[in-house]
Symmetry: C2
Protein backbone atom coordinates (compact mmCIF):
# COMPACT_ATOMS: atom_id res chain seq x y z
CA UNK A 1 0.00 0.00 0.00
CA UNK A 2 1.04 3.57 -0.55
CA UNK A 3 1.20 5.88 2.45
CA UNK A 4 1.61 9.64 2.16
CA UNK A 5 3.17 11.57 5.03
CA UNK A 6 2.69 15.34 5.01
CA UNK A 7 5.08 17.30 7.20
CA UNK A 8 4.65 21.03 7.89
CA UNK A 9 6.38 23.33 10.35
CA UNK A 10 4.21 24.05 13.39
CA UNK A 11 2.46 27.41 13.45
CA UNK A 12 4.81 30.00 14.89
CA UNK A 13 8.01 28.26 13.83
CA UNK A 14 10.06 30.58 11.60
CA UNK A 15 10.11 29.42 7.96
CA UNK A 16 12.86 31.23 6.01
CA UNK A 17 12.27 29.05 2.93
CA UNK A 18 8.59 29.97 2.84
CA UNK A 19 9.46 33.63 3.34
CA UNK A 20 11.92 33.53 0.43
CA UNK A 21 9.29 31.88 -1.79
CA UNK A 22 6.69 34.50 -0.82
CA UNK A 23 9.17 37.28 -1.70
CA UNK A 24 9.92 35.64 -5.05
CA UNK A 25 6.19 35.30 -5.81
CA UNK A 26 5.75 39.02 -5.07
CA UNK A 27 8.55 39.83 -7.50
CA UNK A 28 6.82 37.65 -10.11
CA UNK A 29 3.68 39.77 -9.73
CA UNK A 30 1.65 37.69 -7.29
CA UNK A 31 1.02 40.53 -4.85
CA UNK A 32 -2.05 38.76 -3.43
CA UNK A 33 0.13 36.13 -1.73
CA UNK A 34 0.22 36.95 1.98
CA UNK A 35 2.11 33.93 3.33
CA UNK A 36 3.89 30.77 2.18
CA UNK A 37 4.86 27.80 4.36
CA UNK A 38 7.15 25.15 2.92
CA UNK A 39 6.75 21.54 3.97
CA UNK A 40 7.57 18.03 2.88
CA UNK A 41 5.59 15.21 1.37
CA UNK A 42 6.77 11.60 1.45
CA UNK A 43 5.30 8.71 -0.51
CA UNK A 44 6.13 5.45 1.22
CA UNK A 45 5.38 2.07 -0.37
CA UNK A 46 4.66 -0.48 2.34
CA UNK A 47 4.40 -4.20 1.52
CA UNK A 48 1.07 -4.94 3.18
CA UNK A 49 -2.56 -5.16 2.10
CA UNK A 50 -3.88 -4.06 5.49
CA UNK A 51 -4.77 -0.34 5.43
CA UNK A 52 -4.74 -0.12 9.21
CA UNK A 53 -1.26 -1.68 9.47
CA UNK A 54 0.03 0.58 6.68
CA UNK A 55 -1.29 3.71 8.36
CA UNK A 56 0.07 2.63 11.75
CA UNK A 57 3.51 2.01 10.20
CA UNK A 58 3.33 5.42 8.53
CA UNK A 59 2.54 7.11 11.84
CA UNK A 60 5.51 5.41 13.49
CA UNK A 61 7.91 6.27 10.65
CA UNK A 62 6.74 9.89 10.69
CA UNK A 63 7.29 10.19 14.43
CA UNK A 64 10.69 8.52 14.39
CA UNK A 65 12.32 9.67 11.16
CA UNK A 66 10.29 11.70 8.68
CA UNK A 67 9.24 14.55 10.95
CA UNK A 68 10.75 16.38 13.90
CA UNK A 69 7.83 16.48 16.35
CA UNK A 70 9.45 19.37 18.26
CA UNK A 71 8.95 21.80 15.39
CA UNK A 72 6.83 19.94 12.83
CA UNK A 73 3.27 18.60 12.55
CA UNK A 74 2.63 15.57 10.40
CA UNK A 75 -0.34 13.82 8.88
CA UNK A 76 -0.46 10.28 7.50
CA UNK A 77 -2.82 9.43 4.64
CA UNK A 78 -3.44 6.30 2.63
CA UNK A 79 -3.13 6.69 -1.12
CA UNK A 80 -6.75 7.38 -2.02
CA UNK A 81 -6.91 10.29 0.40
CA UNK A 82 -3.70 12.11 -0.44
CA UNK A 83 -2.17 11.05 -3.73
CA UNK A 84 -1.06 13.50 -6.37
CA UNK A 85 -2.56 12.38 -9.64
CA UNK A 86 0.85 11.95 -11.22
CA UNK A 87 -0.36 13.36 -14.52
CA UNK A 88 2.32 15.41 -16.26
CA UNK A 89 1.34 19.08 -16.38
Amino acid sequence: MTVFVKVMLKPGVLDPQGKAIADALHRLGYGSVSDVRAGKLFRVEVDTDDPKAAKEAGEQMAGKLLANPVIEDYEVLLEAAGAPTGAAR
Copy 2:
Protein backbone atom coordinates in the same frame (compact mmCIF):
# COMPACT_ATOMS: atom_id res chain seq x y z
CA MET B 1 -7.89 31.33 0.62
CA THR B 2 -5.34 28.67 1.33
CA VAL B 3 -3.89 26.77 -1.60
CA PHE B 4 -1.77 23.64 -1.20
CA VAL B 5 0.73 22.73 -3.92
CA LYS B 6 2.10 19.18 -3.86
CA VAL B 7 5.29 18.62 -5.83
CA MET B 8 6.72 15.15 -6.48
CA LEU B 9 9.52 13.99 -8.75
CA LYS B 10 8.18 12.41 -11.93
CA PRO B 11 8.21 8.60 -12.05
CA GLY B 12 11.62 7.46 -13.27
CA VAL B 13 13.53 10.47 -12.00
CA LEU B 14 16.24 9.35 -9.57
CA ASP B 15 15.47 10.32 -5.96
CA PRO B 16 18.57 9.99 -3.77
CA GLN B 17 16.82 11.57 -0.78
CA GLY B 18 13.99 9.03 -0.96
CA LYS B 19 16.53 6.22 -1.32
CA ALA B 20 18.43 7.41 1.77
CA ILE B 21 15.17 7.58 3.76
CA ALA B 22 14.20 4.05 2.64
CA ASP B 23 17.61 2.76 3.75
CA ALA B 24 17.24 4.51 7.11
CA LEU B 25 13.75 3.02 7.58
CA HIS B 26 15.16 -0.44 6.88
CA ARG B 27 17.82 0.13 9.53
CA LEU B 28 15.07 1.17 11.97
CA GLY B 29 13.35 -2.18 11.38
CA TYR B 30 10.75 -1.26 8.76
CA GLY B 31 11.72 -3.98 6.32
CA SER B 32 8.31 -3.87 4.63
CA VAL B 33 9.12 -0.50 3.06
CA SER B 34 9.86 -1.08 -0.61
CA ASP B 35 10.21 2.48 -1.87
CA VAL B 36 10.19 6.08 -0.65
CA ARG B 37 9.82 9.20 -2.79
CA ALA B 38 10.47 12.60 -1.24
CA GLY B 39 8.49 15.61 -2.40
CA LYS B 40 7.49 19.08 -1.33
CA LEU B 41 4.30 20.60 -0.01
CA PHE B 42 3.64 24.34 -0.06
CA ARG B 43 0.84 26.15 1.74
CA VAL B 44 0.16 29.46 0.00
CA GLU B 45 -2.22 32.05 1.46
CA VAL B 46 -3.85 34.01 -1.35
CA ASP B 47 -5.89 37.15 -0.61
CA THR B 48 -9.03 36.26 -2.56
CA ASP B 49 -12.41 34.72 -1.77
CA ASP B 50 -12.79 33.20 -5.24
CA PRO B 51 -11.81 29.50 -5.15
CA LYS B 52 -11.39 29.38 -8.93
CA ALA B 53 -9.05 32.40 -8.94
CA ALA B 54 -7.07 30.97 -6.01
CA LYS B 55 -6.62 27.62 -7.73
CA GLU B 56 -5.67 29.27 -11.01
CA ALA B 57 -3.07 31.42 -9.23
CA GLY B 58 -1.75 28.30 -7.51
CA GLU B 59 -1.38 26.49 -10.84
CA GLN B 60 0.55 29.43 -12.29
CA MET B 61 2.83 29.75 -9.26
CA ALA B 62 3.53 26.01 -9.31
CA GLY B 63 4.44 26.07 -13.00
CA LYS B 64 6.63 29.16 -12.71
CA LEU B 65 8.35 28.84 -9.36
CA LEU B 66 7.33 26.05 -6.99
CA ALA B 67 7.94 23.08 -9.29
CA ASN B 68 10.36 22.26 -12.06
CA PRO B 69 8.02 20.82 -14.73
CA VAL B 70 10.94 19.10 -16.45
CA ILE B 71 11.44 16.65 -13.59
CA GLU B 72 8.50 17.24 -11.26
CA ASP B 73 4.73 16.75 -11.27
CA TYR B 74 2.56 19.06 -9.24
CA GLU B 75 -0.98 19.17 -8.00
CA VAL B 76 -2.87 22.20 -6.68
CA LEU B 77 -5.57 21.77 -4.03
CA LEU B 78 -7.74 24.21 -2.13
CA GLU B 79 -7.60 23.95 1.64
CA ALA B 80 -10.53 21.63 2.25
CA ALA B 81 -9.10 19.02 -0.11
CA GLY B 82 -5.49 18.91 1.01
CA ALA B 83 -4.91 20.49 4.38
CA PRO B 84 -2.98 18.83 7.14
CA THR B 85 -5.09 19.06 10.26
CA GLY B 86 -2.43 21.03 12.09
CA ALA B 87 -3.07 19.14 15.31
CA ALA B 88 0.11 18.58 17.29
CA ARG B 89 0.98 14.90 17.37
